[in-house]
């Protein structure tokens, strides 16, 4: 049976070892007495030093365009709006006076595409369900601002980012997306500009 007090003392030993590990001289002392130092300071001093995030790190979606900002991949099919779990996406399709969809580069396009940062939970469902790979996840995370109904609602202009940017932040994923798009293009080439996947006139969300 252990003596009363040894448990307390061994706990104090662990804490003291950790204390020494955080100082360079303490690590020297530990090595001298034959203890291998393991953990040092683990704090990342945030505004000065930023944590290195993994490549797949995701935060807040953005809209991808090819070459020029008017050539965006989004066709305003509203699948993401419908599937978005917290319902933070709002899309209105661009239509002319007669109510027919306006086409640009052979595709319909959204007139309004708003995402509310304060509601979005960065879950990536919109990216997973998008049949056109038009929406992707960003990795900037310093989005705080004071305007709840102004700056925190991201409109189409602020959401648009180039394909090159997507390639620069998620190179691996972008390569996969490019492959998929190329395959789709090859398949769709014989039959003219019909839409794969869901039809543009998807029903409005059930709730």
């Amino acid at each position: 049976m252990a003596l009363i007090g040894t448990g307390v003392l061994s706990g104090m030993g662990v804490v003291f070892k950790t204390f020494l590990e955080t100082y360079p001289w303490g690590r020297v002392v530990l090595r001298t007495v034959g203890v291998k130092p393991t953990n040092g300071l683990v704090t990342v001093e945030y505004p000065d030093v930023k944590q290195q995030h993994a490549e797949r790190f995701r935060y807040f979606p953005f809209l991808v365009y090819d070459q020029t900002p008017d050539n965006l991949r989004c066709v305003a099919c509203r699948i993401c709006e419908q599937e978005c779990p917290p319902q933070c996406i709002h899309i209105i399709m661009e239509k002319d006076e007669q109510g027919r969809p306006v086409k640009n580069h052979g595709r319909t396009l959204p007139k309004v595409f708003d995402i509310d940062t304060s509601v979005c939970m960065s879950c990536r469902i919109c990216v997973d369900v998008c049949p056109f790979d038009a929406i992707e996840m960003d990795n900037t995370y310093e989005l705080s601002s004071e305007g709840r109904f102004t700056e925190m609602i991201y409109d189409k202009q602020r959401l648009l980012k180039s394909d090159e940017y997507f390639h620069s932040i998620h190179p691996e994923e972008a390569a996969v997306v490019d492959q998929r798009l190329a395959a789709k293009k090859a398949k769709a080439a014989p039959s003219a500009p019909s839409q794969p996947g869901a039809s543009p006139a998807a029903p409005p969300p059930a709730i």
């Binding site: 662990v14 779990p85 990536r124 997973d128």
Partner: protein
């Protein structure tokens, strides 16, 4: 001197704003001096309509919400829902996907058990040292989660049929390194806590839960096993690929707070064994998700399981986590129900607390291991 001094009972509301109720939970306690004579748990402050929302969105869109049930073990929650949907839709799981899922689930167990041990000691009044040691190790695992899924806590990674994307190159080697180093941390952690006289004095014989009551109240997880009942769904159901691994189920005997603590420590050691075997056996290549699975790019509304119901359950770190789904053939579930282990385990709180001191109530609550996101849903 039989006549005691006449005294009044003191009613005190521990929570919802209280440092140790693990969120917005409230205990209406009636005290006689410092002794609890009555205790009523009040919950629902964090109610978010999880089940109702699940019935109005497609199956796949529920996954991000399951992350937020028990936010310490998002991967396990994903796995539970995925298993339920697989049963409902008859979706096979790819071989590599199974391994990745088991690895993630066991890493989640490590995350949860280290953190809850730290919180337990914090509830006892330590100034955060064990908790921060636990968080230091937890961060390393969360780094792995981030590398695989893109998010540290709200992973949204497991999908019916496998996992959303395969783990990145080199991930398995990193995981192996972490897992091999983990017993060392556990040894140090135990040196700090297990034999500490203050902790043993505080926890042994406190909050005793009897075998009969535990079974009758359908308590599950480490809390049940601390009373000595050999019940672990990984062994009972043998879901996923758990039968392929050799591991033991640690059982306590007294059913008090100390046993719950120590059973968790031993479970972590067994998890390390499972992880080591899984990392050795995992196939080098192969799809992470089976062709029938709900992979990226698949339109969610096309998944319409046939009429019927399914109950998928797993051994989540906190106990039996079950998802009950009823399909009416539409893209949304007709009924979506979560059997949350924290919630069920909390029902025996009053029985454990009666006759104990105020200070014990706090650590008993800590040893139940609740996450309010799961209790209130």
């Amino acid at each position: 001197m039989e006549q005691a001094i006449e005294s009044q009972l003191l009613e005190i509301s521990l929570g919802p704003q209280h440092p140790s109720t693990h969120g917005v939970f409230r205990m209406n306690a009636t005290l006689d001096g410092e002794t609890i004579v009555k205790l009523k748990p009040v919950m629902g402050y964090l109610h978010r309509n999880h089940e109702q929302i699940g019935e109005s969105i497609s199956y796949i869109a529920s996954f991000p919400f399951t992350d937020r049930l028990d936010y310490f073990s998002a991967m396990s929650n994903n796995l539970g829902l995925a298993i339920a949907i697989e049963q409902l839709g008859g979706i096979p799981v790819s071989e590599r996907g199974e391994y990745v899922r088991v690895i993630m689930a066991e890493l989640t167990r490590l995350v949860n058990h280290t953190a809850v041990t730290g919180f337990l000691i914090n509830d006892m009044g330590a100034f955060g040292t064990p908790l921060l040691y636990a968080f230091r190790e937890r961060e390393k695992i969360l780094d792995l989660f981030e590398a695989a899924s893109g998010s540290r806590m709200m992973c949204n990674y497991v999908r019916p049929g496998g996992v959303r994307e395969d783990v990145p190159a080199g991930w398995l080697a990193q995981a192996k390194q972490l897992v091999d180093g983990y017993p060392r941390f556990l040894d140090e952690f135990e040196m700090l806590l297990t034999d500490n006289e203050i902790i043993r004095q505080r926890t042994q014989g406190v909050g005793v839960l009897s075998k009969e009551l535990a079974v009758n109240a359908s308590v599950t997880g480490p809390m049940l096993r601390a009373t000595g009942v050999n019940y672990d769904i990984r062994k009972v159901d043998g879901y996923s690929i758990y039968p392929r691994f050799a591991f033991k189920i640690p059982l306590g005997s007294a059913g008090d707070v100390y046993d719950r603590y120590y059973v968790r420590i031993l479970e972590m050691r067994e998890s390390v064994k499972i992880l080591q075997q899984a990392l050795k056996q995992i196939p080098d290549s192969g799809p992470a998700i089976s062709p029938k699975g709900l992979a990226i790019g698949k339109a969610p509304r096309t998944f319409r399981p046939a009429k019927g119901d399914a109950y998928g359950r797993i051994e989540a770190p906190k106990g039996e986590l079950g998802f009950y789904l009823v399909s009416d053939g539409s893209p949304q579930p007709y009924r979506y129900h979560v059997r949350a282990p924290s919630f069920v385990n909390l029902t025996v709180l009053e029985d454990m607390c009666l006759g104990q001191k105020v200070a014990d109530t706090i650590i008993i609550l800590g040893s139940v291991d609740i996450v309010l996101g799961e209790v209130d849903r």
